[in-house]
């Protein structure tokens, strides 16, 4: 027998690549990749060169800071901006509390938003003092309520009630009451965009769920009415539906019954996204195993109980990513209300460009608005990816 002795320990090969190795693997692995890389670099050089010269020498960015208020709240009266601020404060408190109570994703999102608040506070550009004030207060509120809410599980129910009441309270606050009320025609900018998106998604949810259940119903009358509604709405462009809301709805309603312009847009958006929501929910319903229905029936649950307690919780959980995707789409789609002359984020650009000081600055303004949309949608899709990973969708 030989006596084997190891004189030297050999380390496992390093999985970390040297930069040179990385370059070779990822950019110059063979002749056509090398060609492609070089060609792309040349192309990118020219692209960036022209873009940078435009951005830094030709574009006139003065239009942005001068119109920040219009972009964010439209023509909302200046002396009533405190209403918006109060909405933000309550939102901040609720977010802080939820972050403290639930931790996890809530905490990350809230932290990100608090960071944005802090950045606005510290921004070197000359923002309105009241904006800075609001940002400072909101950030502090988030921090304070986060600390207060930490591990206070008994607050859970109250926070949920708070979120539910948040929406009516927001509308009440923004619209005001009595003689001081502010016409919705003054709502605009990012504020209106966010309101429309939130209203659309919140209001379409119950209708969508009912339609989805209707489409899967065994009763032919209900099934066919649902199918016709879903397919007709999905077959038409949103612009058509928005115009129908503004041109046809008044014809169908009793004479003299006037609906607010913004409200009509909200109705159109809701009815539109309900059809898409129905299809998403239907996907979730189909994913619930048959055994679940049968088990519910076996223990004697009625149809409504089966649905509310057994099927829908499972169905909705599996389509959360799709619903977030729909929310993103809806957020982008709110830009279409500018076609029916509402001044949301995109619509206010017309107001700004109408000012003789800022004519011809379309590219600058559009780019800025695009960046705002991008930040929101990108953040939402990022969050949805995290949610997806958290729920383990697609892992089973």
């Amino acid at each position: 027998m030989e006596n084997l002795t190891f004189t030297q320990e050999i380390k496992p090969p390093s999985t970390k690549k040297s930069p040179l190795r990385w370059l070779k693997d990822n950019l110059f692995s063979n002749w056509y990749n090398t060609l492609l890389t070089l060609f792309t670099i040349v192309l990118l050089y020219f692209l960036f060169k022209s873009v940078f010269t435009w951005v830094f020498t030709q574009a006139q960015w003065a239009v942005i800071p001068a119109n920040l208020q219009i972009l964010s709240v439209g023509s909302y009266p200046r002396e009533h901006l405190w209403r918006v601020a109060y909405v933000i404060y309550v939102l901040a408190v609720l977010m802080g509390l939820s972050a403290g109570i639930w931790k996890g994703l809530n905490q990350q999102i809230t932290f990100a938003i608090a960071c944005i608040g802090a950045v606005i506070t510290l921004l070197p550009i000359n923002v309105n003092t009241s904006v800075r004030e609001t940002a400072v207060i909101a950030t502090t509120l988030i921090a304070v309520s986060y600390v207060l809410g930490r591990d206070r599980q008994n607050l859970k129910r109250w926070v949920i009630i708070g979120w539910v009441l948040m929406f009516p309270w927001m509308m009440f606050m923004l619209h005001g009451f009595g003689e001081n009320s502010i016409s919705t025609l003054n709502w605009g900018g990012l504020l209106l965009t966010l309101i429309l998106a939130v209203v659309g998604i919140v209001a379409c949810f119950p209708i969508g769920v009912l339609l989805a259940l209707g489409r899967r119903s065994r009763l032919p009358a209900i099934r066919w009415v649902s199918i016709v509604y879903i397919e007709v709405v999905r077959g038409m462009p949103l612009v058509t539906i928005l115009f129908m809301g503004s041109l046809m709805l008044p014809i169908f309603l009793p004479g003299g019954f006037q609906l607010d312009k913004v409200l009509r847009a909200m109705i159109a958006l809701t009815l539109f996204s309900a059809a898409y929501m129905a299809e998403n929910v239907r996907g979730g319903l189909q994913a619930v195993p048959r055994g679940q229905y049968e088990a519910a029936q076996a223990v004697g649950l009625s149809y409504p109980k089966t649905m509310t307690f057994i099927v829908l919780p499972q169905a909705l959980r599996s389509v959360i990513p799709a619903i977030v995707g729909q929310f993103i789409a809806l957020f982008k789609d709110t830009s279409l209300v500018s076609i029916i002359a509402l001044s949301e984020l995109l619509g206010v650009s017309d107001n700004i460009l109408g000012n003789p000081n800022w004519t011809g600055l379309k590219p600058e303004l559009y780019l800025f608005i695009a960046v705002i949309y991008f930040i929101f949608t990108f953040a939402m899709s990022y969050v949805s990816q995290i949610v997806e990973a958290d729920l383990g969708v697609g892992k089973h």
Binding site: N26, A221, I251, S335, S338, L346
Partner: protein, 495 residues
């Protein structure tokens, strides 16, 4: 048990309750509809616009400079039709561009080259996350910064870009109906040839024995399926020919400025067409002769190998002769024809505007670019996920039998990815067609914008909205029906 069910009171019988519930539901729906209807009738009579479609024959009174020739004195009905054609134009061209871009970026996202991969990812994220309307407005703003006509950017004096859009050369155009007739005839010809080939091959090689081996089953299935392609091919050629023909073939109106270079019949063309046909015929004869020759004079060995591989060998062998023969005939025909069969007409400045060639207006371009780029970002994701969904083992198997990278992609991965890609791709196409209604924001006169104008002028809100709805529903329902049909066909095998 049976007694129990007969004893149940009728108002507790589930069957009765179901019917009752449905009747109540329908009554509710009907009541709501009736309420709307009553209000509508009352409102309309107050406004003084009774429901009727007679306004469609009236003079439109507005001009449409886009698409089919249209004058202010033409009827509303024709105006609407112009809008429909414009929508189809921009949608079809948009779908083509979006598909090409989408496939390029979708494949690029899986590239081994880091730079390409990242660029594709950035492209997708940027264009997917910004609202389409904003993108269209942005492109439109860009077209307004283009130089004036006198200072047009030109490429080799054939393509001109200026503030009025892009001017492209056309290929010479003469009488509308005759050129459409050629499309029709070539459509018939193609259909006949395909069916004929199918018949001949089945007659010769369609035995049970042959169909049992994979390859022959593949060949005969392909040919069997031919009739399903032959008819659509004919229809597509005929319909496309209709739209591509300069001037409307049936002389209802004058169509001009339609979107693709139009092939037209100048004097040399018809003779060249005969060369083309002769080329196709020769190619077929060649294949058959080759087959017969091999069958009769081939070595014993060749004759003994099973017929299916013989058939496929023959066809695959013949293509190297048949294809060049066809090409030679076609090219020789081009030069032998009297005059040039097809002429290139370049746009030229005359006075203040360009004459000749075709013009894409800035509105059309902005809408097209916006739709194509936005949708391509979604298609890229569809393609990427489709390719990634193909089981890894399939790629490894392809590699292990010695296929190279391109063969692996074309023969193994893509055929399996297509069934996964098609359904979401269809919904992207539909989205594109529906999104073309955003034309109204930049003044491109698509069907919705024309309809909107008609409403503004006539006040006939309801009939016009009805027409718009029906148009969109026809588009989306036919597309999804076609795609469902295609989807069923391709998913029939395996999976």
């Amino acid at each position: 048990m049976a007694q129990n069910s007969t004893n149940t009171a009728f108002y507790r019988d589930i069957r009765f309750l179901k019917v009752l519930f449905q009747i109540l539901f329908l009554l509710g729906v009907a009541a709501l509809a009736g309420f709307f209807y009553a209000n509508m009738i009352k409102g309309l009579s107050d406004q003084g616009h009774p429901l009727s479609l007679s306004f469609l024959d009236n003079e439109a009174g507005f001009e449409i400079s886009e698409g089919i020739d249209f004058e202010a004195s033409d009827s509303y009905l024709k105006a609407f039709w112009v809008g429909v054609v414009n929508t189809l134009r921009v949608s079809i061209l948009g779908i083509v561009c979006a598909t090409v871009l989408g496939f390029i970026f979708g494949v690029a996202r899986l590239s081994t080259n880091w730079l390409i991969r990242s660029i594709a990812a950035v492209y997708v994220e940027i264009f997917r996350n910004v609202p389409l309307l904003l993108q269209i407005l942005f492109w439109y703003a860009i077209t307004q910064t283009l130089p004036r006509i006198a200072e047009s950017i030109s490429f080799i004096d054939t393509i001109f870009i200026n503030v009025r859009g892009i001017y492209l050369p056309t290929i010479a155009v003469s009488d509308g109906f005759s050129s459409w007739l050629w499309y029709l005839l070539s459509g018939v010809g193609l259909a006949i040839i395909i069916v004929f080939c199918f018949a001949v091959f089945r007659l010769l090689f369609g035995s049970k024995e042959v169909q049992q081996t994979y390859r022959s089953a593949f060949v005969s299935n392909t040919i069997f399926g031919a009739k399903w392609f032959a008819a659509p091919v004919f229809l597509i050629v005929a319909i496309a020919g209709w739209f591509l023909s300069p001037g409307q073939p049936l002389q209802i109106t004058n169509v001009s400025g339609i979107f693709l270079p139009t092939i037209a019949v100048s004097d040399g063309f018809s003779s060249w067409l005969w060369y083309l046909l002769a080329g196709v015929g020769l190619a077929i004869i060649f294949v058959i002769c080759f087959a017969v020759f091999r069958l009769l004079f081939g070595s014993k060995e060749v004759q003994q190998t099973d017929r299916s591989s013989f058939v496929s060998n023959t066809i695959f062998g013949a293509k190297w002769f048949a294809a060049p023969v066809f090409l030679i005939v076609a090219i020789a025909g081009w030069f032998l024809s009297q005059g040039q069969p097809l002429q290139i007409i370049r746009p030229e400045i005359q006075g203040f505007n360009f004459v000749g060639g075709i013009n894409f207006t800035p509105e059309f371009l902005a809408l097209l670019v916006g739709l194509a780029v936005y949708t391509s970002a979604y298609i890229a994701e569809v393609v990427r996920s489709g390719i990634q969904a193909v089981v890894k083992g399939q790629r490894e198997a392809a590699r292990s039998v010695g296929l190279n990278q391109v063969q692996e992609l074309i023969l193994v991965v893509i055929p399996q990815a297509i069934p996964i890609i098609v359904p979401p791709l269809t919904s992207q196409y539909l989205n594109l067609a529906k999104n073309s209604s955003l034309a109204i924001a930049i003044g491109f006169l698509d069907l919705f914008h024309v309809g909107r104008r008609m409403i503004a002028q006539t006040g006939q809100t309801i009939p016009i909205f009805g027409m718009i709805m029906v148009s969109y529903l026809i588009m989306s329902l036919t597309t999804s029906a076609l795609m469902n049909w295609y989807n069923r066909r391709i998913t029939r095998y395996g999976r």
